[in-house]
Amino acid sequence: MVNTTGSYEVMEKAREEGRTILTEIESKQLLRSLGISTTEIRLATSEEEAMAMSREIGYPCVLKVSSADITHKSDAGGVKVGLADADQVARAYRAIMASCRAKFPQAAIEGVTVQNMARPGLEVIIGMATDPQFGPVIMFGLGGVWVEVLKDVSFKIVPLTKADAANAVREIRAARLLEGFRGSKPVDTSALEDILLRVSEFVAQTPQVKEMDLNPVFAYPDGAVAVDARVILGE
């Protein structure tokens, strides 16, 4: 059984602030409360804080702008990856702030998130949407930018059985990529199925969630980690 108590605190805070889109940091808190691995993430509100946090998290690390008003963080110049030390973190912080303020002068920016940089893995997407007829549905597919280009995804209606989760992973056209390709090891599909089942169980008892994107999830031979995430609540 998935424990949903942690998720309610996160959603309640957004509700009180009149938001339907959870920030990345909130979305990841929510996922972690469900037992889903994410990258380590903290919110820094100053350059000094970002530097201190990066020392604790370790290098290489990633900085991303945190703002409910900026949905496409990369396009805003709000993402810097592969930062190797505290000086680079300081420069990245200033660059992100300058770029985002220039491109989105109206945006409320709460700060910058400092995250560990996940080791490379196969990028997949796990998502959830609300169908007007059947309610919550869950999606699995090739992730990252590939989801927009190839749309290689499979859907299942909630609640998922173990067989549904296994089929969701197996049914995509590129399923062979998961089995290991040109010498790469097969990815841990049971870890992906576990995330699908946790999301299914969570949304089955949480009708206030309208959509979710865990994109990308890095799939490894041992486990899987949500690298970016977005949770959207109903009106």
Binding site: A129, G135, V137, K151, A163, D213
Partner: protein, 466 residues
């Protein structure tokens, strides 16, 4: 445990006392056609209701439902929409089990119509009466002597009860499919037209047919669903027990949706319905031809153990093309076991035949039609073979051999007759009467066999999961 809804639907489909509100003796009206239909099919207690008549076709006629002195279980309403609510109140007073509302002009037309049908459903439900429709064609329940399907009545579809049941959100579909399939040797438990589903809806009928012991194959045509969550739950249970063959209208995706997430943008209606088919095991088809073909295949055939198919043909060329059809449909054509080959060799002439898969029994079969039957029996014993697709010419003696052999084996046999149905309708009818699914094209036979194998696999997996 049977749900209350299932019990109520069962009472309606097996009603023995029926009031026909809007009965008429005028030729060319539903009021007359249905009255004659109830009479001819053998409905035991018929009560025409028409305030302007004392007697119609020899039946004592009543001014309204409450004037009928005996208990009544079902009322069929042929009245205009504005009269329906009043009659439903009478039905509640008279303690009927259900009403069928034919009238259109409700929710499909206007917001006022929607409000009226909701009020009808509310009044009926509160009084223990269930509603089929409005804007529907009623139902066909031959064993109970009940039919309100115009085409079936005009074509004099016989009142032989059977094991095909179903529901459709299209009145014409229900009526036509009964007519077509009865012509092809199938018989029905009940077929029901859902209409606007102001009360009883597709998910209720699906649950009913899942529990109805007479129904072994379920057919459906759907466009939308009233309670999708419940439909999904019910479909999961029912399709794991019995084949549900569904033609779903409205499967073309409109353009991309505006959504705040990738998932939301990709979750189109057709995509989600396809997920439903995959998860529940519903056999999704996309045209009337496939509905009829699959209905016959599932009705007549046992479920296969696997997809290993043997092609048996008397004309080498079409045997090869049929093998292509089978492979394209996802069937497998395993090699025959040595023992099978040896036994076939004993019965087949050496010249003009070929013992492989396809098996070509050659034109000699025209002179010795018994070869078909003998070959089928031998092939059916082969452990590699799960199903047999037979190509035959429209020759009765060959068909007789196929019929006899098919009765002795427990593997599906589908026949493709090498002649168009309009040229030799009697040959198709002969096979249908003898419980064999016959198709005018091997491609269609291969399609049905592949759906049988797919469903058999799904059912076995579901049973293994427990």
């Amino acid at each position: 445990m049977q749900s209350e809804t299932v019990r109520q639907i069962s009472q309606i489909f097996n009603a023995q006392s029926v009031a026909l509100v809007g009965a008429s003796d005028r030729e060319g009206t539903f009021g007359r056609l249905f009255l004659e239909g109830l009479r001819d099919l053998g409905c035991p207690h018929i009560y025409p209701v028409n305030p302007k008549r004392e007697e119609i076709l020899g039946f004592k006629t009543y001014a309204n439902l409450t004037a009928i002195p005996e208990p009544v279980e079902l009322a069929i309403l042929l009245t205009p929409p504005e009269a329906v609510l009043g009659i439903v109140k009478e039905a509640v007073e008279k303690k009927l089990k259900g009403v069928v509302v034919f009238a259109a002009g409700f929710g499909e037309l206007s917001a006022e119509g929607k409000a009226l049908e909701q009020e009808i459903a509310r009044v009926a439900r509160a009084g223990g009466v269930r509603v089929i429709g409005p804007n529907c064609l009623g139902f066909f329940s031959p064993a109970a002597g009940l039919s309100t399907f115009p085409m079936s009545l005009m074509e004099k579809v016989p009142n032989r009860g059977g094991s095909v049941g179903g529901f459709a959100q299209s009145g014409s579909f229900t009526d036509q499919v009964v007519w077509f399939l009865t012509k092809k040797g199938a018989a029905f438990s009940t077929m029901v037209s859902c209409g606007n589903e102001c009360d009883l809806a597709a998910e209720d009928y699906l649950e009913y047919f899942g529990e109805d012991e007479n129904t072994r194959t379920i057919l459906a045509y759907m466009e939308g669903v009233k309670d999708g969550r419940r439909f999904f739950e019910v479909a999961r249970k029912v399709a794991a027990k019995k084949p549900v063959i569904m033609w779903k209208g409205g499967m073309s995706e409109q353009g991309a949706k505006a959504a705040a997430s990738h998932t939301g943008a990709l979750a189109g209606s057709a995509t989600v319905w396809n997920a439903l088919f995959q998860q529940t095991g519903i056999i999704n088809v996309s045209c009337m031809e496939q509905v009829v073909d699959c209905a016959l295949g599932f009705h007549f055939s046992p479920l296969p153990r696997g997809r290993g198919t043997a092609v048996l043909s008397a004309h080498g060329g079409t045997g090869v093309a049929t093998a292509d059809n089978c492979l394209a449909a996802g069937l497998e054509l395993p090699g025959l076991a040595d023992e099978t080959k040896a036994r076939l060799r004993q019965i087949m002439p050496e010249v003009g035949t070929s013992i492989g898969n396809p098996v070509d029994i050659g034109v000699a079969s025209l002179l010795n039609p018994g070869l078909y039957g003998e070959a089928i029996r031998i092939i059916a014993d082969d452990p590699n073979i799960d199903m047999i697709l037979v190509n035959t010419s429209a020759i009765r003696a060959c068909e007789e051999g196929i019929v006899e052999a098919s009765k002795t084996i427990d593997k599906p046999v589908a026949v493709s007759i090498f002649a168009l149905p309009e040229l030799v309708p009697q040959e198709y009818e002969y096979l249908a009467e003898n419980g064999i699914a016959a198709y005018p094209d091997a491609k269609r036979a291969a399609y049905v066999l592949s759906r049988l194998a797919e469903y058999a696999k799904f059912k076995a997996e579901r049973e293994a999961e427990g």
